[in-house]
């Protein structure tokens, strides 16, 4: 049936190709185009106006594309306003968090998906619940802890608190992705006298490389766009991460010069945009493989 139905469907679809069907398929394309446009328009606006000179911005007559595009905003923001430091801070925080997340997340994910753990469903449910926990609800307690451990205004402090939401997501993602790997390969390794730790390191990690890549990218993006914890735990501007610096950039002025903000947003968004575009297929396949197989 399977072999015949494939050829059948193409035929029956062709036979029923009326004007309604044509409209329906093209209606989908039109709707999709509108949705994409709605998503891209704000980003285009930021992109275009990051090249707008301060003088043109002050005239307060926004155009679709600046009359005299200039890179001066980027220079001002990165050099004068020290936004380069903010980007560096973000990189450090995101790297520390992602490294710890991957280490702990893969261990936890492997344990939940493979070892005979009692109440596995309960644990996974709790992990997801922890991921939903309101960030602002944790600010006070975490602030208290950091004030007593000297972690306030440090990279490690923000990184540790960012773990609160990267770790549940990564553990959950890796547990479900590890669960799909063929268990036979691991069993073979165990039978041949390989220990659990070595199985994880030599068999599971190489097999799960795409899953780990997905987890890395997601964790990195989550931390990169974190605002709440950076605001709560970073106190001096030389430690500010990029999202925090963007907001402060606007607020320190008598009048908010959004042309500078736009340039800062572009600098912050571009690495992530590049990362997502490069790894898009991997991210999607890593996320959906759980649902499809």
């Amino acid at each position: 049936v399977i072999a015949t139905s494939a050829s059948l469907v193409t035929r029956s679809a062709r036979e029923r190709a009326g004007p309604l069907r044509w409209l329906l398929s093209h209606g989908t394309a039109v709707t999709l185009a509108l949705v994409v446009l709605a998503f891209l328009l704000p980003f285009y606006w930021i992109f275009a106006h990051s090249f707008e000179s301060a003088a043109e911005y002050a005239r307060n007559q926004p155009t679709l594309w600046p009359a005299h595009p200039t890179l001066s905003n980027y220079y001002t923001v990165l050099v004068r306003d020290g936004f380069a430091t903010a980007i560096l801070n973000s990189l450090i925080v995101a790297s520390i968090t992602t490294a710890i997340t991957l280490g702990l997340g893969s261990l936890a994910g492997y344990a939940i998906s493979r070892l005979p753990v009692r109440g596995r469903g309960l644990i996974l449910g709790f992990v997801i619940l922890a991921g939903f926990f309101p960030l602002t609800a944790m600010m006070g307690p975490l602030f208290d802890v950091m004030a007593h451990t000297g972690l306030l205004n440090t990279y490690l402090g923000v990184s540790a608190s960012d773990l609160v939401y990267t770790l549940p997501f990564t553990t959950w993602l890796l547990a479900s992705l590890f669960g799909q790997l063929p268990v036979e390969i691991e069993e073979a390794a165990l039978v041949d006298g390989c220990g659990r730790a070595r199985v994880l390191w030599k068999v599971v990690i190489p097999l799960a490389a795409p899953a780990l890549a997905t987890a890395t990218i997601f964790s990195f993006i989550l931390v990169w766009s974190d605002f709440a914890f950076s605001l709560a735990f970073l106190q001096t501007s030389n430690r500010f991460t990029a999202p925090l610096a963007i907001v402060m950039l606007g607020q320190t002025k008598y009048q908010t010069f959004y042309n500078y903000t736009d340039a800062a947003v572009m600098v912050t968004a571009l690495p992530i945009l590049a990362l997502v575009l490069l790894a898009q297929r991997r991210i999607v396949s890593g996320l959906t493989s759980g649902a499809l197989r």
Partner: protein
């Protein structure tokens, strides 16, 4: 010279009509006469002449079966077995012809089967409607299996859509919530003429239910707990018109330094978040 019915009749000492009645098992024959006929048939080595019988009755008791090919798809082998089994129950034999996905070869096969005066032709599945029509025009009945190409011919088609629908409902009733949906499921629905909307409503949407739940909870909670946009754009103002729970909590904790009140607000926030998740879980529970 082959043994004929007359030889058997002479050997058994009965009429040819009696022998025929014994062979075809219809009409009364005494027990002794039947025994004598059986003995005579065994001793003489008589065999029914089907060709002669066919000529006389204008029926060959033979069906033609056009297949794509018995191999490699086991589907055709199973249909061939089924056809032969059903035909045998009615005293028919089956001639199988493998068209091997070639409409011209199918045409040649149809001619061959018609030349052999088959009593009917089964197409599993026909490659060209014209070939089926050819059979019908020769006054021979034709049946199409699985793929009705020719409107005039009778057809036997599996209810793929209904089957799939029932299969999913069955899995849902068994408590399964994560059901994979290979493309075949949609192919089957399309095959049976299900429109885009009904496929979406009755197959896609029920299957997406768990994913929808996750997305809904995620998006509602993040909107409910929104903080950074409020902080950056309005600061909770003007007045308190855009002050959200998250913003109040941040302000209580880190601006006012009131950890007791902040903790209380945090507990309320978590409770509301849990209630939202529970409401969605309830609302999206599959109706079994």
């Amino acid at each position: 010279m082959a043994v004929t019915l007359k030889d058997v009749a002479a050997r058994a000492g009965v009429s040819t009509a009696t022998v025929a009645r014994v062979i075809h098992e219809n009409g009364y024959v005494s027990a002794q006469a039947r025994d004598r006929v059986f003995v005579a048939i065994r001793e003489s080595g008589y065999r029914l002449n089907v060709v002669a019988q066919g000529l006389r009755r204008q029926r060959t008791l033979t069906l033609g079966h056009m297949l794509h090919g018995i191999l490699p798809n086991p589907f055709f082998a199973e249909v061939a077995m089924g056809v032969e089994h059903a035909a045998a129950e009615h005293g028919y034999n089956v001639l199988i012809f493998n068209a091997r996905d070639d409409a011209d070869r199918e045409r040649a096969g149809v001619e061959t089967l018609l030349a052999r005066r088959v009593d009917g032709v089964i197409f599993t599945t026909a490659l060209r409607a014209e070939n089926v029509r050819l059979v019908l025009e020769a006054g021979v009945p034709a049946v199409e299996v699985e793929k009705p190409l020719c409107d005039e011919a009778a057809s036997v088609v599996v209810d793929n859509y209904g089957g799939v629908y029932e299969a999913i409902n069955h899995l849902l009733e068994l408590g399964h919530r994560e059901i994979g949906y290979p493309r075949d499921l949609y192919d089957a629905a399309a095959l049976d003429g299900a429109g885009g909307w009904s496929v979406f409503r009755r197959i896609t949407l029920p299957l997406l239910r768990p994913a929808l739940l996750v997305v809904l909870v995620f998006r509602t909670l993040s909107a409910f707990l929104i903080f950074d946009i409020i902080y950056a754009l309005t600061g909770g103002g003007p007045g308190t018109s855009t002050t959200t729970l998250s913003y109040v909590d941040w302000h209580t904790f880190l601006v006012n330094g009131d950890f007791g009140l902040g903790g209380a607000i945090a507990v309320v926030m978590v409770a509301v978040a849990l209630i939202i998740a529970a409401v969605y879980r309830l609302a999206l529970r599959p109706n079994t």
